[in-house]
Amino acid sequence: MSIWEYANPVKFMRTSGAILPFAVAGAVVCTVGGVVWGFLTPDDFRQGSTVKIVFLHVPAAMMAINIWVMMLVASLIWLIRRHHVSALAAKAAAPIGAVMTLIALATGAIWGQPMWGTWWEWDPRLTSFLILLLFYLGYIALWASVEDVDSAADLTGVLCLVGSVFALLSRYAVLFWNQGLHQGASLSVQSGERMSAIYRYPLYLSMLGFLLLFVALVLIRTRTEIRRRRLAALQAREMRA
């Protein structure tokens, strides 16, 4: 028994079908719970009620980056071991990542307006996320424009690899280019003095919720891709017959 067994589409369909209800239930409970709990937290003395946006902004930003990493790993598995499910999972994850990036950017812009007095600032973090969005869009566009599925998987895999290097490079280039307004708000800084428990626990729940939401969505979307491929294969067979 090894994890490579899940590379078999039939096995993947069976297992993912069994996991899916739990993932969906967990995603709904945690996301709705975390976001609603976050919405009900008391106002911050400095930021007022805008602090509630953190329960959407931070989980979305976290997932935006992690989904790209997951795509990179899945692409590598496809390029090295030629498991079709892996390539399809990377394809399925890309639109989710793009939406997460969009949420992080949109909530950030709306939050920045009253806090910094501007919708947009060419701050390293904001700029990096904009660049990340461009990489997601390019990746999705490439998948959409190559007809042969295996070629598309190969090309997007190579693009994901090169893109990862350049996304990271851009991150540091942008840091060099402009120092910003955005607080270095990683959780390690926040725990303790920066963020009190009334904000921290709903944030954890919300982050778990977004993670489960991603798992559920990527399972659904991968299943869609597998079905589409099987359909195409059956149609091709029928044509020949």
Binding site: I131, G138, A141, L142, A173
Partner: protein, 218 residues
């Protein structure tokens, strides 16, 4: 390898090869900018390095799809792929040919167009140096994008969407080099980064581009 290089250069400089179009585009862009932002010297001077870099970048982008498209159409790319020269080498040579036919004329023209945009005289050598170091990376990354999109029917727009984000680090360090050289006289840090990116790209991207090309020729 040399034969391939001379062949590509000859094809590019022949009528219909598009040689010089990049420079013409560059000139038009530099002419249009003052119409957009106003002819004021104080308005033009601070943005001149950025405009010149952007112009060079876009002019470079224009001719990217020619790197492989014509050879793909007439089948000579398949021949090159089966030739004893490894495909990585072919990609590198093709990128080099693109740089010589597009990048070098742009670099030669850049100081001239810098005059149009009131680029300060002390920034001129740094402009040329930054372009000289940065544009090989642009050509090589462009060859990668062209290799990915070579078989596609509407590859042109996709090519720019894929390649332009990859240009961001080069653009940042290139313009920052000029800005720091003018402001403080010490452009060492961006210079090192720019050269590092170009060296890394020239060394590694041919492998990725050749892999993409192999997929598209399959």
């Amino acid at each position: 390898m040399l034969a391939l290089l001379t062949r590509d250069l000859r094809l590019a400089t022949r009528a219909g090869g598009g040689f010089g179009l990049g420079v013409a585009f560059f000139l038009i862009l530099c002419t249009l900018v003052p119409f957009g932002v106003g002819a004021d010297t104080s308005a033009l001077r601070p943005i001149a390095p950025g405009i010149l870099w952007l112009g060079a970048l876009l002019a470079c982008l224009l001719s990217l799809d020619r790197i492989f498209a014509l050879d793909h159409e007439d089948g000579s790319l398949d021949l090159l792929a089966t030739a004893p020269l490894p495909l990585e080498g072919t990609v590198a040579i093709k990128a080099l040919a693109h740089w010589i036919t597009t990048g070098l004329p742009l670099i030669a023209a850049a100081p001239l167009f810098g005059l149009l945009l009131h680029l300060p005289a002390e920034a001129m050598p740094w402009l040329v140096i930054s372009l000289l170091i940065g544009t090989p990376a642009l050509s090589m990354l462009g060859a990668f994008g062209a290799a990915i999109t070579v078989g596609l029917r509407r590859g042109g727009l996709l090519l720019s969407l894929l390649v332009l984000p990859l240009y961001i680090p080069t653009l940042i360090f290139g313009t920052e080099l000029i800005r720091r050289a003018v402001a403080s006289g010490d452009p060492t840090t961006p210079l090192v980064f720019l050269a590092g990116i170009t060296a890394g790209v020239v060394a590694l991207i041919p492998f990725a581009a050749a892999a993409a090309l192999r997929v598209n020729l399959r």
